[in-house]
Amino acid sequence: MFVTLRYHAFVREETGRDSERLELPIGATAGTALEAFARRHPTLAARARHFKFALNDEFAPSGAPLMEGAVLDLLPPFGGG
């Protein structure tokens, strides 16, 4: 199945993209998608351990199951306020 990862902050800068489509196996979770991301972008792999997730515009845990067409934001540590 295909999911769309969306990138922000330094992830957007370092990958040079706002988003990326990934093919993942059925049953993949947010955590699985993050592992695929880390393999594809190894310079971000260490920092990826600190990312949170949003799935279809709601916060989601790493175990959240993904479905075809899901939109998963990788959220680096926040800096608001």
């Binding site: 902050a9 920092r47 949170k52 916060f59 959220l75 680096p76 926040f78 800096g79 608001g80 306020g81």
Partner: protein, 149 residues
């Protein structure tokens, strides 16, 4: 007599923030206290002179999360009103990045509620900050504790 519904307001905006407008929103006849906070961009980050800041967000989620945070503060601290505004885009030194106004019957709840809102916002809302330096060295993304991420 039932209490009127507390005023809950939040927004992301690219326009300069207006704290007095937020204070007006939360004002209530039954509120004896209005407490407000402005987060202002500082000129230095660990002795390095800062030129400007850029704020960005996962806007759909940040809007929802700010709404939920405001309702949470109202509920926890018995507020009569809470209003939260965060700016996005490029900010010069001295401009406000975040504005908060809360009202309550008494000052205890108002001070505590305002503190809670700024403290919790920093770790719970998907907003990112990038700092640019006068010394020309690489800009950095800064996390909730003020340290580079």
């Amino acid at each position: 007599m039932a209490s009127p519904t507390p005023l809950a307001f939040s927004e992301l905006t690219r326009a300069p923030l207006d704290l007095s407008a937020l204070e007006a929103r939360v004002a209530r006849p039954e509120a004896g206290a209005v407490v407000s906070f402005l987060g202002v961009t500082r000129s230095h980050h660990e002795q390095r002179s800062v030129l400007r800041l850029e704020y960005s967000a996962q806007e759909a989620l940040a809007s929802k999360a700010m709404e939920a945070l405001v309702r949470d503060a109202i509920s926890q601290f018995g507020l009569t009103g809470a209003a939260l505004a965060h700016r996005l885009g490029t900010l010069e030194i001295g401009e406000a990045s975040v504005a908060i106004a809360v009202s309550a019957a008494h000052r205890g709840g108002a001070f505590d509620g305002c503190r809670y809102l700024i403290d919790t916002l920093k770790t719970s809302i998907p907003i990112w900050k990038k700092e640019y330096f006068a010394d020309g060295q690489a800009a950095i993304w800064v996390g909730p504790d003020g340290k580079p991420v």
